[in-house]
């Protein structure tokens, strides 16, 4: 089915941002009628290569050969015209416009110079049907649709442009389980029709199911290309991180924490249609993980605990006492002692133009000020302690925190909260987009904090993290706890199964793919 002559060949592509090399003489060959998966750590260059292919950025060196001819794309529109369509991670939909408007936005059908709405509607309905999303109404406004529906619209929009090469950059991250199955069916059908598909994902199981060929990127280079089942998962991971894979995680704690009173307890917590009847208990010294596919309520649960959501029903108890947390200010107070390391460090965790010092003390301003005035000496002491504890690598404390690497930025976010010595630490996917070395340091840190008595709850999209770091894992599905896995029960198989709400053995839960 796959042709031997590549449809698209990227040769020797290099791209530098400031002093950092995102791509270094990278190669990639894409054949028609096949699904080609691209793997690699964040920062390995996958997204940059895709952006070069899609005309969003221009390469510093190298050439793109399409159909045997060298081409140069001046803009995303030019790449589209050549038949290359990309579905990015950050959605490219215009919120205030309708689904139909968005689907044809790059090239609307025209009549007498104005946009032909009837034709537009027809094209949209066709594209939605082709994407398996026929239930979405073309006149609905994109901003009124939930994230999973928006991603389906994104796919329909790509299909409407009749691509020859379709690139999906983590395009299934927000989809519900049912949608994922539909999308896979669509992708397989497109492959049979002769499209070349490029699929970037972190999820090994998806790649195993879809891909014909795989390419691994590391440090801006193509490390290896091989047929889909030619390598084991461990070999692939080693290629991605470039060294021996085992011993990444510190050993788990001894099980002495059974009888302590929970630091945090949640009973029957519900919120709109995103959280249903969640109950959990978190004891001091425990590291508890939240698992499951993206968008099942993990983020909402953490926000709910931290006082950001309104209209919660159910109870939250801290140290056995019921509390009502109305804001992050209340959550971080001495009585409750919570901290939240948020999902997106660049927009929720840090103020990038402000200095490292200012960011570090930002959540602890009440502790470094006396009568409102900053006590420089006290601040310096606390900060020095944190920089040392976390081994934050920075050229100075008074440079903008935006100049630090992703891993060090995340350390600043964590340090910012550790300055308050919180008892309950919530983390929302803390190692997303961070290099492996820093990840390990964070795992060690979490273990040490737990050993010192903190109760840790963290959401991760990485199965190995959940397996390696957590004493227990609560897998969420559709806003409720699908299953609780304890100790050795935490295996990749069990995690995936409960993420898809499949229960083996105990007869409960739904059947395959909901």
């Amino acid at each position: 089915m796959a042709e031997t002559v590549p449809l698209l060949h990227m040769r020797g592509i290099s791209k530098r941002y400031g002093g950092v090399s995102a791509l270094e003489r990278a190669d990639l060959a894409v054949s028609a009628g096949s699904i080609h998966a691209i793997l690699g750590e964040n920062g390995a260059g996958k997204s940059t290569l895709i952006k070069v292919m899609a005309g969003v950025v221009a390469p510093d060196e190298g050439e793109i050969v399409l159909d045997g001819r060298a081409v140069r794309f001046a803009s995303p529109a030019a790449a589209n015209e050549a038949g290359i369509v990309c579905i990015f991670q950050e959605l490219s939909l215009i919120p205030e416009l309708s689904v139909a408007d968005n689907i044809v936005i790059s090239d609307p059908p025209r009549r007498f110079g104005l946009i032909d709405r009837a034709a537009q509607r027809r094209i949209a309905e066709e594209a939605l049907a082709r994407a398996g999303a026929g239930d979405i109404h073309p006149r609905a406004l994109v901003k009124d649709l939930p994230l999973s529906r928006r991603q389906m619209v994104e796919i329909a929009k790509a299909l409407a442009r009749k691509p020859r090469i379709l690139i999906l950059d983590e395009a299934t991250s927000a989809l519900t389980a049912g949608d994922v199955a539909k999308v896979f069916a669509v992708l397989k059908r497109l492959r049979a029709e002769g499209l070349a598909l490029l699929y970037i994902s972190h999820r090994m199981n998806e790649i195993a199911e879809l891909a014909d060929e795989c390419t691994v990127f590391r440090n801006g280079r193509n490390v290896a290309t091989f047929k889909a089942d030619a390598r084991t998962d461990d070999e692939v991971i080693e290629m991605m991180i470039g060294r021996e894979y085992s011993h990444v995680f510190p050993p788990r704690a001894e099980r002495k924490i059974e009888d302590k009173r929970p630091a945090l307890e949640v009973r029957n917590l519900s919120w709109t249609d995103r959280l249903h009847d969640i109950s959990l208990a978190l004891r001091p010294g425990e590291v508890v993980g939240l698992g499951g596919l993206d968008g099942q309520g993990q983020r909402e649960l953490l926000l709910a605990l931290f006082g950001v959501l309104r209209g919660l029903s159910g109870e939250i108890l801290v140290d056995g006492e019921p509390v009502s947390i109305a804001s992050p200010a209340a959550a971080r107070s001495d009585r409750i002692g919570m901290a939240l390391i948020p999902e997106d460090r660049k927009t929720e965790g840090l103020m990038l133009p402000m200095t490292v010092r200012e960011n570090l003390s930002f959540a602890a301003l009440d502790r470094v000020t006396k009568a409102g005035i900053v006590d420089r000496a006290a601040e310096q002491r606390l900060i020095d302690g944190m920089v040392e504890l976390l081994a934050i690598k920075t050229a100075g404390l008074d440079i903008p925190v935006g100049a630090l690497s992703g891993g060090n930025q995340q350390k600043v976010v964590i340090a910012k909260w550790l300055m308050r010595q919180p008892r309950i630490i919530l983390l929302n996917d803390p190692t997303r987009g961070i290099d492996v070395g820093t990840k390990q340091e964070i795992y060690q840190l979490l273990r040490r904090l737990a050993a010192a008595g903190a109760a840790i709850l963290f959401y991760s999209t990485d199965y190995d993290e959940l397996i390696g770091c957590c004493d227990r894992v609560l897998v969420l599905y559709d806003g409720h706890v699908s299953r609780e896995l304890i100790g050795d029960e935490i295996t990749e198989h069990a995690l995936i199964a409960s993420a898809l709400n499949i229960h083996g053995g105990d007869g409960t839960g739904e059947g395959a793919r909901a």
Partner: protein, 323 residues
């Protein structure tokens, strides 16, 4: 590398190109003015300019606070006028009124600022709209109060002394007041938790909120301060002219925004130093003064004014490109 940077004096290390350009332009304007008339560089004239600049400086201080948050206060014109008129009005109520005139004027401005703050922080209405509306309300109130005529009350002796007196021989009081207010502003912005919160909110309100800052209270306090400072500017202006006048604040809206922005403070918030605002205020004042010394008619003045602001912003106030 870190060591050398640590040893450089702080202000050089963080030297904002905008502030440097602003001071450069001030020097340029002084040279230009001196070409036209010898008197331009005389100490008396420069001090006079500094005094006139002080009124704008007080108002611009409040505006800077609000702009640092990423907001804007378009109620300055009638905040100024209301402060002036209410202070003069209080003076008509006997000795108690006279004594309390200045605080009363400022209080009116603070109240207006609180309304602005509630609208922006708690009701999440865009600041541009809220302050336009409160400006209109303040105007309406003053029109009703004065019956549509020019205000008849005169300024108190205290007001006149603050605006035109010389507590320190040789230095106008207004300049001292501006210096004091400026020093307080610098201290607030650089040495207090409140100041850090202001910069943080201006940079990324979401991150500030998630860090546990009560962002709504900070925003409201900033607007209240801006209202109070505008009103105080009005009080001083009334002292300078010995009475208040209708629409006296209109001429201060564009200059106060321009002064803050030309001084390097980003209109989007989160970035800017008070030194830049000082430079911006002096720059605007000198520009207006040169234009009037050259006896350029109002039409020409407006045009040159607008062109200069656009030109300077194109120099250093541009947003980064997309690709």
């Amino acid at each position: 590398m870190g060591r050398i940077a640590d040893r450089m004096p702080k202000f050089l290390r963080r030297a904002d190109p905008a502030v440097a350009v602003a001071f450069g332009c001030i020097v340029l304007l002084l040279l230009l003015g001196s070409l036209y008339s010898r008197n331009f560089l005389s100490p008396e004239y420069l001090l006079q300019q500094l005094k006139v600049a002080s009124f704008l400086g007080v108002i611009a201080t409040g505006m800077m606070l609000v702009i640092l948050l990423g907001q804007i206060d378009l109620s300055v014109p009638w905040s100024v006028a209301m402060g002036a008129m209410m202070a003069c009005a209080a003076a008509a109520y006997g000795p108690v009124g006279t004594a309390l005139a200045i605080p009363f004027g400022i209080l009116c401005g603070v109240l207006l600022g609180v309304v602005n703050g509630i609208g922006v922080a708690y009701l999440r209405i865009p600041s541009m709209i809220v302050t336009l509306a409160t400006n209109a309300v303040a105007q309406g109130l003053m029109v009703v109060y004065t019956g549509g005529f020019s205000p008849q009350d005169s300024a108190t002796a205290a007001m006149r002394y603050l605006a035109t007196g010389f507590a320190v021989p040789g230095i106008p009081n207004a300049v001292i007041l501006w210096a004091v207010i400026g020093a307080a502003a610098v201290f607030l912005l650089t040495r207090t938790g409140f100041g850090r919160a202001v910069y943080g909110i201006g940079n990324r309100e979401r991150a500030a909120y998630l860090s546990g800052i009560d962002t709504r209270r900070v925003v409201m306090l900033a607007f209240a301060a801006c209202g109070g400072l505008s009103a105080f500017g009005g009080v001083l202006l009334a002292g300078y002219a010995s009475k208040a006048a209708q629409s006296m604040g209109d001429a201060y809206l564009l200059p106060s925004i321009a002064a803050v922005v030309l001084g390097g403070t980003s209109i989007l918030g989160g970035r800017g130093s008070y030194l830049g605002t000082v430079a911006g205020v002096i720059l605007i004042t000198l520009l207006q003064s040169i234009l009037s010394v050259m006896q350029i008619p109002e039409a020409g003045r407006q045009i040159i004014y607008g062109v200069v602001i656009v030109a300077m912003l194109l120099l250093y106030g541009r947003a980064p490109a997309n690709r």
